[in-house]
Amino acid sequence: MSAGLSDLDTGPGPLSHRLDTVALAESTSDVEQPYAELGLKSDEYARIRDILGRRPTTAELAMYSVMWSEHCSYKSSKVHLRQFGDLPRSEHLLVGIGENAGVVDVGDGYAVTFKVESHNHPSYVEPYQGAATGVGGIVRDILTMGARPVAVMDSLRFGRADAPDTARVLPGVVAGVGGYGNCLGLPNIGGELLFDECYAGNPLVNALCVGVMRHEDVRLAKAEGVGNKVVLFGARTGGDGIGGVSVLASETFDAEGPAKRPSVQVGDPFTEKLLIEACLEIFAADLVTGIQDLGGAGLSCATSELASAGTGGMHVDLDRVPLRDSTLTPAEILMSESQERMCAIVEPAKVADFLAVCEKWDVLATVIGEVTDGDRLTVDWHGERIVDVPPRTVAHEGPVYERPMARPADLDDLQADDPAALPRPETPEELTAHWLAVVASPDGADKTWVTEQYDRYVRGNTVLAQPDDAGVVRIDEQTHRGIALALDGNARFARLDPYTGAQLNLAEAYRNVAVSGARPLAVTNCLNFGSPEEPEVMWQFAEAVRGLADACRDLGLPVTGGNVSLYNQTGDVAINPTPVIGVLGVHEDVRTRVPTGWRAGGETVLLLGETRPELGGSAWASVVHGHLGGRPPAVDLGAERALGELLGALGREGLVTSAHDLADGGLAQALAESALRYGTGATLRLGDDAFTALFSESGARAVVTTTDPEAVRTTAEWAGVAVTELGTTGGDALAVEGVGELPLAELRAAWTATLPALFGAPEAAVGTVPAGTVPTS
């Protein structure tokens, strides 16, 4: 693909060894250009010619090709995503959709910005660097808003856990997420790790970052003030990641296609750490008027977006860009996705101070241009004009498609295939065997193998982290104010019914934040789907967006931003629709946070919410029968809201000692995790239908422990939430009346063995401390 570019710049042919300037483009309008190789369709190319009134130069073509890619332009998803922008404006939303990340008021003058982004395709091609730079990119988005990044999360999906390619991809991805985040000094506070055949060849790597600032410190990506300087700072520009957004993220993988590894970026977290500290010092000294990070589409994106969002005019002298590779062509420099770079708009009088801060942190900074009057973005290469475009046409007025949609032909059959017909355990022994199987399945198993590779302590404000349901971070040491975050994305539900599935995912993340005692405030999302050119995928996408928007309206939560990842398919097999939803909540006082594990015996175990016989898309059906069919659990957002309010009240009043959300694996999974966390069992009564009690995945439920069950009942009655007493904590087993005993030792052995058995257990050589068994003296 870059061969196509250099042909025009330096290669043989009618333009041999000539720089493709605007003047040349005007006089050679019939030259054939390699737009298709750059991922542009013929009508898109025609539109570019129309906008410019001539053929684009090689450099202009490069800019349009990356900015009009699916990844950057959202051309297939835009018409649907508008529903998020149309939600009623929340009083908590300080900056909405459209900026690098939304900003939410969390009280006391604090603002929080958070966003989740995919790096799926690069992570399949080169797992370590793909995942690492995914973290790096989302951290820069948060930094760009003016915030100090304070934590990260990761939501990961791979093919079958025992597939050979999963053994190639997963360890690299985990090491990459850890390697980059650890080196940046950002605690990893939670996420997901799930497996499904549908992700073979299309793993999902979604990374979330959250940052904190004061209200007055919010920064925007705008180039304003004629004469202000454009400063590029951070790493040098190299040849990595060229076409990452267009040829990698916006096309379907093809087994026969050429290797795409050169399109993957390479990360240097040390440089990014310096960039973070330099930026925060620059913000504190008020040295910038606008700022943008360089991520997908690199300089093309940063310059056109800054200019487009500002007054419109900008000039860049591209030959001033510091390079790692002096042979790069201008077009390649514009498309390069080299990491750890930022672009700032700085008043001339402040440039010296700006450069001094960069020098202190050993960050390379170069003035590459300035804000101009007029409405053109112009780029020169050694004094010759190679780009002259209206920036809005590059950044914000790309193509928009109303893609055809069709309900998947197999959906009726799938929904009719009700798991109620599946054989159920007939004896107590079978029931406990199924319980053990769900808990020990790769999805249900202990995730310590992964999370031990992540630093959860750095910065000293992590109040809860994985395996708790939500990550909780203190943001003020004096007032104890803090935030809670959860990321959830059940794709089985979304496959059965994308509208309901997206709502269930939102409900789960909402519950996970609520069980920690936090008040949910805002939503972000990462929508991972197959090819938008397939009508059935487009229908799934539209349904998921509609479901999510409707549910956000019902719950009164704004969507602050998000990310769309399409083309997650190999050949004509798309992944299950995977809308990953993040919910942010606020803790007035993190000291009242509620953990998920049982610490003490003699406490009452209560189930909040109602259980219905809902097994469609359940972990039980999947693990025990390899079955996916029926309808997902019904959504009751009123019940979710009531439960959320109840959990918040119970937390604030200190009425519960633990709370655990019920989701994948239902009560069976929640009881096991609560018991195993600190090694405290329980004696339980699950009623006449222990099977449904254990494995149903009805929403709006949580299990709590308390020393004051009457007070919990009274509060629950006020909130309108049903309460069922399940039993009492204590002992070293989960003992269920009429079913039998599941010794914690056996449960723990099964639960902890799964991932090490699959991905290596090096600790065996030097002894191991099982999770949750370290005595805290």
């Binding site: 650890n182 080196c183 000094g185 310096l274 302590y457 000293g460 090096p762 401390v769």
Partner: protein, 223 residues
């Protein structure tokens, strides 16, 4: 009592170390690697992180930072110095402590709550503990495997220079389960685990780590 915390490019746990100093009752003083000014501090903490990206070898470049010359000089005169994780690596590279830290035997970064035994309760940084006391603090590193030649290990054991040892599982393959060592005079201590992450019930697995920071306040008064 002024306790300096040095920030190198890539230091990460400097804010945590400063907090631990404050919670212990000391006054944390921010020190910058490129300066030659120790700002009249009474003791110094080298925090965890990835100084200079851990390029070349972990701690190797930081050990040659301008401020480290003053640290080495003052340490030789008895100023207490604590190196945590990357700080331990820096102290070994700077020649203030024996041995070296290499890639974990299992090749993974590992973060867990770790049981440790205090082997020496008479150093400037461990006097708040009892000899043989077991504590739990987080460990988190990718290059934390303590190594030294067999002869040197014998000498260190003989001289009682192993200050802290892993118990209940060795997280990184360190020889003889060594988690931390001390200088001959007991003023310089380096360890891979992170006591600064165990100073508050709210955020740590325990408050067992606070003892390192209260110890030094007494040591400075006594000196």
């Amino acid at each position: 009592m002024r306790i300096g915390v040095i920030t190198f490019p890539g230091s990460l746990d400097d804010v945590d170390a400063a907090r631990a100093v404050r919670l212990a009752g000391g006054e944390p003083v921010t020190l910058w690697h490129a300066s030659h000014d120790l700002a009249d501090v009474d003791a110094v903490v080298l925090p965890g992180g990835f100084s200079y990206g851990d390029y070349l070898r972990a701690g190797a470049i930081a050990a040659r930072a301008p401020l480290m010359r003053e640290v080495v000089d003052r340490a030789r005169q008895g100023m207490p110095v604590l190196g945590i994780c990357n700080g331990f690596q820096v102290l070994c590279e700077a020649g203030l402590l024996p041995g070296a830290l290499t890639r974990n035997s299992h090749l993974h970064f590992r973060n867990r709550d770790q049981r440790l035994r205090i082997e020496r309760a008479d150093t400037a940084w461990t006097s708040a503990y009892a000899e043989g006391q077991e504590i739990v603090v987080p460990v988190k590193n990718g290059e934390g495997r303590y190594v030294a030649s067999p002869a040197e290990l014998e000498r260190l054991e003989g001289e009682g220079r192993v200050a802290v040892r892993y118990v209940g599982g060795n997280p990184n393959g360190s020889l003889r389960d060594v988690a931390g060592v001390t200088s001959e005079d007991g003023r310089v201590v380096g360890l891979m685990p992170h006591p600064e992450h165990a100073v508050e019930d709210l955020t740590g697995p325990s408050t067992d780590g606070l003892g390192f920071f209260t110890s030094v306040l007494k040591a400075v008064v006594a000196a």
